[in-house]
Symmetry: C2
Subunit: 468 residues, 2 copies
């Protein structure tokens, strides 16, 4: 309603302004309210849109005037080319971030659909936080003590008795895992220095690595994770001191490290005097196995553990924890301060509120149930209608299928064909830190409208037939 | 109440656990609720604290157990020294961020006190946003269109007719000005490259510059801003292409550039094919003059304009706009994506809600009134009780007094003496990108308890007498 009445008023004022002489004064807000039967808020909104569109000029305390007409000469920004120099780093907007039009079947976006968000819990928590002192208080750079204690105790519960558990003081709060990744790469690796990174891996990690200027050294994922000997060799050849990995439900491959793999890789990390940046992004999306953190086996500060709530709690709750001990924690705190100063206290309070409700666990069980059924639907649809794609691995958590395309099919142009046919996917190429080793697609089953998986698989199968 | 009952229960369970054998099972939540007459939430909180303290181990679905005792041997993290290498960059937590104990008179923190925050507007806005789709929707990397249009129209209103006003598309939303500064320095300057920066300047800008690895080239503030000829020479000598400055109510000096200064410096910027990063941090705190943006005089994309709402709207509303045109905008968008992905939609919606309420303008007028009266109180108190300090300039906006200490007094140790005597201040040294040119203090009159300014001035005067 409100939106429509603003739109109507904007259009009426626009045609009036286009015919009026430059400098003509618009009727007062009061007059517009009376004349058009709309609220003062609607009038203000409409005027702002006209100002923003360059048609009207507002002189505070004086009035609103039709702007002097001016040939809309395109601005010439070419001087910036010399000032900015050649572009380095990122290749533009990642596929997973591109907005998906209403008609598409979205297997591309890595963000869970609204029906997987515990919206009632979040709304209540935000409303409570809105009444609290968090609205007027400045939180510390480290984060809210109670929230940090919650993250620490969650990890402590995974640890064997006998190992020193992490404490509140070992936890730093970041506004999402992306700023946390950037801080880790800058504080623990540094520009120009080598970083071992699983390949393929999360596009956000690749972007953060490029942005922080570290030198990526890809380590292939083989079977159930990177080969410990391969990791060892990569450490020694590159001189790297840090490995970035997702031991649970790797994005995009869905891999989960076995207990043997975890301890073998932690061993390699220790022998090389190195860090593991463990991105535990899908801890809340355990559909068929328990997520097991490598951090729970380490008390000597080798594992820096990243745990975000954004995907599981709400897109509005940009809250993640980075857990680290020793001097690494000091470096990360300095980075947190320099990069974000602190995280909104309202978001931190609301996050803690949600995750300490009994209904939170119930919600997560419901999400796991939905993801299992979506996974089955997508797998069956592919089997029935797109048997040409190979699903090497059925993930036991999270919500990505990593499928291999037949030889001869190129992932990027095929993804473009799919997009043209209404199916959004992420072409695998952009998830490799170096050249891709094969043509893959990442198909996400956490998006909206799982009832369209069958149709999506038909389109994939049909286009593959035509390609061959 | 709640907090106390948790504390009591924690202490009771702690003494029980310390006497129980390792592995002993704690009573069930139900039993603890009955026995101690507290709520299940209190029991859960208490248990988490004991888990976090390492006294109790929780096995989900099984129960809670006393942890095996273990000599609390301090962990040895010395291996990290080799992995991390020498420290570079920041010198630790800035004075303005250090937490101030309850007894202090706080002239140090740069964050406005709760009574200067429009808390009712913010609480209502957050509550409304909590009911909206912002809880389940993933915003774009650019930010909410309506909020971006608002920032664009605000700046457009300052522009002369005839200049092309900024549009929604020229605005990018960041989670506070600190991430915005980091993105600007990385995207427009780049590690190892020179950046002209006012001296003294905002400590957050110095931290962000260090963190992004740019090479700071200080330009002194003389009189009413940097000398245009000095800026010109600095561009030519250093090869820099970017100047970072705060033309309105510079933190810490309180300087405001005159109209002539603005146009002279913009001219130098243009002639050098350079950018001005204009940090308009205090736009909402105009006590005695109108803030005038250099960006309002530029349509060719030379000025990148940063405008934050955190200090004026609420510490919980971490929302800032970075406005840029041309290829610079593309670089900044890529940086925004790589560093933050996007900003919480709830915070963006709440920010827009607050600034479009008529009560917002009323609130700002009230804040200006309060700041004027606080400024008078602090100036009079210093004149009466600490005549040794020199106030070269009375700021016409924001809330910092930049005072010079007598020759022979060193700012850092003097600030430490003041802190020991209960007065928090920021020693000027850390606000210079290079060596300080004199001993200064930054005294902020936006903190709590202005009735203590007289006492603070007495302490400053007294300690200066003793020093001399």
């Amino acid at each position: 309603m409100k939106h429509n009445s603003t739109g109507v008023l904007v259009e009426e004022l626009r045609s009036w302004a286009e015919q009026a002489p430059a400098g003509a004064r618009l009727p007062s807000t009061r007059a517009l309210v009376a004349e058009h039967g709309v609220s003062p808020v609607t009038v203000q909104k409409a005027l702002r849109q006209l100002v923003s569109a360059g048609l009207v000029e507002s002189r505070p305390g004086v009035g609103n005037f039709v702007r002097a007409l001016r040939a809309p000469a395109p601005q010439d920004y070419s001087w910036q080319t010399a000032a900015l120099g050649p572009r380095s780093g990122s290749r533009g907007l990642a596929s997973a971030l591109r907005s998906i039009s209403g008609n598409h079947i979205d297997l591309g976006s890595g963000f869970p659909a609204p029906e997987l968000v515990p919206d009632r819990l979040v709304r209540t928590a935000l409303t409570r936080a809105a009444r609290s002192r968090a609205v007027v208080n400045w939180p510390s750079a480290e984060g809210l003590p109670d929230l940090r204690a919650w993250f620490a105790s969650e990890l402590a519960e995974e640890m064997q008795a006998g190992l020193a558990p992490p404490r509140e003081n070992d936890v730093l709060i970041f506004p999402g895992s992306q700023p946390g990744l950037g801080a880790c790469f800058r504080a623990l690796v540094g520009a120009g220095q080598p970083l071992l990174i699983e390949s393929p891996t999360y596009w956000g990690a690749i972007l953060a690595a490029q942005q922080s200027g570290v030198q990526m050294v890809p380590v292939p994922i083989s079977g159930e994770g990177p080969d410990p000997e391969e990791v060892d060799r990569a450490f020694q050849r590159s001189g790297a001191r840090v490995l970035y990995a997702q031991p649970n439900y790797t994005n995009p491959t869905g891999t989960q490290w076995s207990a043997e793999r975890r301890s073998a890789i932690l061993d390699v990390i220790r022998r090389n005097g190195a860090f593991l940046i463990e991105d535990n992004w899908a801890r809340d999306f355990d559909t068929d196995s328990h997520p097991q953190s490598v951090a729970a086996e380490d008390e000597a500060g080798h594992v820096v553990h990243i745990r975000s709530l954004t995907k599981s709690v709400s897109p509005a709750i940009r809250v993640a924890a980075v857990m680290a001990r020793g001097p690494a924690r000091e470096r990360l705190l300095a980075a947190a301060q320099a990069e974000t100063i602190y995280v909104s206290g309202v978001l931190q309070a609301a996050a803690l509120d949600v995750v300490t409700q009994p209904a939170w666990r119930t919600h997560l069980r419901g999400v796991a149930q939905q993801l299992r059924s979506r996974r089955t639907m997508l797998l069956q649809a592919l089997q029935a209608h797109a048997p040409q794609v190979e699903v090497a691995h059925v993930p036991r958590g999270a919500f990505h299928l990593w499928v291999r395309l037949p030889d001869g099919v190129a992932a990027e142009p095929f993804a473009q064909q799919l997009a043209a046919a209404g199916v959004g996917v992420v072409p695998g190429d952009e998830l490799f830190p170096a050249e891709p080793t094969g043509a893959h697609l990442r198909l996400t089953y956490a998006g909206p409208a799982p009832e369209k998986y069958e149709e999506a698989a038909q389109i994939i199968g049909h286009l593959l037939t035509r390609w061959a």
